[in-house]
């Protein structure tokens, strides 16, 4: 029946809802929760965007709780991580990256101060037992995530105290002991059984563990210095960098040459250089094949050190010699009197790889009376000979399972490189522990291990019209003259600064509830919900009416809306 014409052809309010303009559409908007670059770059797997968002809402405890679902040690990582998240931060292309590490540290410290408990995952207790060897960052993380998954966890370490290299290789000027104690103490109180002074291969064998436990995780680190010589020459009184650092941390002993050259470009090299410099050594040189951060240096060729630590080291008088290696030791008898350096650079070798090439004719001499190699460490093979088979590190898959050894997992500095995962940092170790917990859980549950995968959000997907330039917060540093061997050099932000800094987050790839889509839809086809919608936002697309113009996607500040082909 046709609608009967009425007097004067008037129409009822809102009767257009009978006309479904959705049929006009060829593409439809969808919510896409893409991965923020900070999250994508985080070796520990933190979703910084997620916890910054909670902080923006003024919920610090919830922000911390969100943070520790991936990283149980934020007060530690906030201090020692070289924060690739900040290098990746889209805000860096706009003005300056968010001071993520500072906020992370502040959240971690707040949690310690207020004694916030870890949020517990729901689920029934699991009968399986898992051994975790090594109470460093990887082992602690694995133990934490396994405990959260309700496994019985026994944590072994050869030392009397848990912490691994956090205690043995990181100076308190970077990481105060009170912080280590607080975070690890809270972690162990989740019901993890800690067995100190139990060394693999000495007090317990891998076979014992394998038979006693349903799975074993090795977070044993790389405790043995890599062999070092120069054309076969080695000074008689050679001291390895890591050994010197450990000795100094343990007993405070340090050699006092007039001039020293430290060979290496990692944290051990830089930490040791700074300690020696502060201890009064006149000339402290660091020779490294890597480059200093800067326009001329490619990302895979930068010194693997927290950038601000490098700045502080230079401030303190450490002399860096980047893109160089030691070519020759100048000896008087068995004593070193100097080294000859030559310039080199990492260049493509024509086979798709890069190799270091030294340049003849660029040799220079440094007059020193001590040479300290700090070129890295390898796994101590004690007790692992059958597994390592002469290799430096343990080869593992994406979830840490040692190749060829089902039920045996490894992570942290002990493992070999994995494509797509960074190595050699506390955060990488924390990430390894978390992924291994998933690997172990999956194995023991008879399923495939899985990890959330979301597309990355590029800078170009943001609509920058909605952001305003705002400088990054300044973080304090102890003045040069006040630096000693125990005072923490870097300060964290105060509450006001931390909250203000969190506000700078672009919320890349995630809805920030700005209402733009709802406000700007000409067709009233975006609806707002009181409750959180299933995709985590507060907005619904009404496809009955959406004409597919794409305006919402274009004007979404954070790239949360994408247009997809409509069927």
């Amino acid at each position: 029946m046709p609608t009967p014409m009425n007097r004067g052809a008037f129409a009822q309010a809102g009767s257009s809802l009978a006309f479904k303009t959705g049929t006009w559409r060829s593409a439809k908007p969808v919510h896409v929760h893409a991965t923020a670059p900070c999250h994508g770059a985080c070796p520990a797997g933190e979703d910084q965007q997620a916890w910054l968002a909670l902080l923006q809402e003024g919920k610090p405890q919830q922000a911390w709780e969100r943070l520790v679902t991936t990283n149980p040690l934020p007060a530690i990582s906030g201090r020692v991580c070289p924060h690739p998240c900040e290098s990746a931060c889209n805000r860096g292309q706009y003005d300056q990256p968010i001071a993520i590490h500072g906020i992370e540290r502040w959240l971690g410290d707040e949690a310690i101060r207020h004694n916030w408990p870890y949020p517990r995952r729901a689920g029934d207790a699991r009968p399986e037992r898992v051994a975790v060897v090594g109470a460093g960052p990887a082992g602690l993380s694995a133990a934490y995530h396994l405990a959260q998954r309700k496994f019985n966890v026994v944590l072994f370490d050869s030392l009397p105290e848990p912490g691994g290299l956090l205690r043995s290789a990181i100076p308190p000027t970077r990481l105060p002991r009170s912080i280590i104690d607080a975070e690890i103490g809270r972690l162990l109180s989740l019901g993890i059984e800690f067995r100190p002074r139990t060394a693999l291969g000495r007090d317990v064998s891998l076979d014992d563990l394998r038979s006693e436990f349903d799975a074993v995780f090795l977070g044993i680190g790389a405790g043995k210095s890599r062999h070092w010589d120069v054309d076969g020459a080695v000074p008689a009184d050679l001291h390895e960098g890591l050994a010197l650092l450990r000795e100094w941390l343990a007993v405070g002993a340090l050699p006092h040459p007039n001039a020293v050259v430290i060979h290496g470009g990692g944290n051990t090299a830089v930490d040791l250089a700074r300690i020696m410099r502060r201890a009064g050594v006149r000339d402290v040189h660091v020779v490294t094949a890597s480059g200093l951060p800067g326009p001329g240096t490619e990302s895979d060729d930068v010194l693997n050190v927290v950038p601000r630590e490098l700045e502080q080291a230079i401030e303190e008088g450490v002399q860096f010699h980047p893109h160089r290696t030691i070519n020759r030791l100048i000896m008087r008898g068995s004593k070193v009197v100097g080294v000859e350096m030559v310039r080199l650079k990492k260049l493509p070798d024509g086979n798709g790889h890069k190799a270091r090439v030294s340049f003849e004719g660029t040799e220079t001499v440094l007059h020193v009376d001590m040479v300290v190699p700090a070129i890295g460490e390898v796994v101590d093979p004690t007790g692992l000979e059958a597994i390592l088979r002469q290799k430096d590190y343990l080869g593992v898959d994406r979830f840490g399972q040692v190749n060829g050894h089902p039920g045996l997992f490894a992570g942290g500095d002990a493992r070999d490189g994995i494509k797509g995962h960074s190595s050699g940092t506390v955060s990488a170790a924390i990430g390894d522990g978390r992924r291994a917990a998933e690997g172990i859980d999956a194995l023991l549950s008879g399923r495939d291990a899985d990890e959330e995968k979301r597309p990355a959000l590029p800078y170009t997907a943001l609509n920058l019209s909605y952001y305003e330039s705002s400088p990054r917060i300044e973080l304090s540093t102890l003045p040069l003259e006040k630096r000693d061997d125990s005072s923490e050099i870097e300060g964290g932000p105060n509450t006001v600064d931390a909250l203000a800094e969190a506000q700078r987050c672009f919320s890349c790839g995630n809805c920030l509830a700005c209402d733009n889509c709802w406000t700007l839809c000409p067709d009233n086809a975006v609806l707002k919900t009181m409750e959180t919608a299933s995709d985590g936002s507060h907005y619904l697309f009404d496809y009955d009416f959406c004409k597919g113009c794409g305006l919402c996607a274009k004007e979404c500040p954070c790239g949360f809306i994408a247009m997809s082909e409509d069927e």
Partner: protein, 327 residues
């Protein structure tokens, strides 16, 4: 209609003056502007509407997208029928606000006299002009609001012409000369500012005027998704200044924190395509002309300058990431 009490559409935390199901083109700036205006004005209004796209796409009998009383008569009499509605409300002692609406054709041109009369007689009517800078409903013909050098079907570029020969009529100044309490320009790219201006006008007992820059993807030649971007650039380059006039005097302007070059705005639209022909010296000349017109606006209204503008209540619509623009 097709709604249950739990339908999210019926539970929106805003008033829907213009409902879904209207037949505007994808990305229509005018539909958005009308939605925002009616949203801000609320339910206690009576609308009048000049003939044009808005009227056509909202009320195809037996359907209407309006949720407020709405009256359309002719192309040129929106202001006059609004005067009549307002007089009737006064006679009956009713207090609903009357909002007259029209496009630039119905406002700058054919309905100009009725508008002037309405303003002079001090009717308590808010007149909203959705300015899309040409006669869009009839197929993109020039109006007196069409910008200089823009291409329309009646101002095509060719060997003898570079688009529209004349300038965009400075309607706001003419409106201001009526000495009415409040007149302002606004843009769909700045919805917060637009809504504030609507609310300001609603509070005034007397004639008020709002000129809302509303891009037309079809007529301007840009993608429907770019409506806001185009509108934003029109403001940011100075060609469409956002100003408020109280009794004819400039009371506030939206400052341009970063002035965009006009070419950035022009380049997005095919109606200015002929201004980007490489070997045509006239193209360069017209681009410079438009830049000079933008610069003139910037200077005339003081759109840039040091420090805070005390009258700038909102500034640009941002999601306020990065904290407030000025601490």
């Amino acid at each position: 209609m097709n709604q249950t009490p739990n339908d999210p559409r019926s539970r929106q935390p805003r008033f829907r003056g213009l409902e879904a199901g209207h037949r505007a083109c994808q990305g229509c700036g005018e539909a958005l502007a009308a939605r925002l205006v009616t949203e801000a004005a609320g339910p206690d209004v009576i609308l009048t509407n000049a003939t044009g796209c808005l009227e056509v796409f909202t009320t195809s009998w037996p359907q209407s997208a309006w949720r407020v009383p709405w009256l359309h008569s002719l192309f040129e009499n929106s202001a006059a029928i609004a005067s009549g509605v307002e007089a009737a409300l006064k006679a009956q002692g009713r207090r609903s606000k009357v909002i007259a609406m029209g496009g630039d054709g119905g406002t700058f041109d054919i309905g100009f006299q009725a508008l002037s009369g309405m303003l002079e007689r001090m009717h308590n009517v808010l007149y909203v002009c959705y300015d899309n800078e040409a006669y869009m409903n009839t197929g993109i013909q020039r109006s007196s609001s069409t910008p200089h050098a823009a291409m329309t079907t009646t101002s095509p570029p060719g060997k003898e012409r570079m688009g529209k020969r004349h300038l965009k009529k400075d309607l706001l100044s003419i409106i201001a000369a009526h000495h009415i309490p409040y007149a302002a320009s606004a843009s769909v790219a700045y919805p917060q500012d637009l809504r504030r201006k609507v609310r300001r006008a609603m509070e005034i007992d007397g004639p008020t005027f709002l000129l809302v820059h509303s891009p037309c993807p079809l007529g301007w030649g840009h993608d429907g998704s770019e409506t806001i971007q185009v509108a934003r650039l029109a403001v940011q380059c100075g060609l469409f200044p956002l100003v408020e006039l109280e009794r004819g005097e400039v009371a506030s302007v939206m400052p341009l924190r970063q002035k965009a070059p006009v070419t950035e705005y022009l380049r997005l639209q095919t109606r200015f395509r002929h201004l980007f022909v490489d070997d045509d010296h006239r193209a360069r000349e017209e681009r410079e002309h438009l830049q000079a017109l933008a610069d003139y606006n910037v200077e005339r209204y003081g759109l840039t300058g040091d420090g805070d503008d005390p009258f700038d209540a909102d500034g640009a619509d941002t999601v306020r990431r990065g904290g407030p623009a000025r601490a």
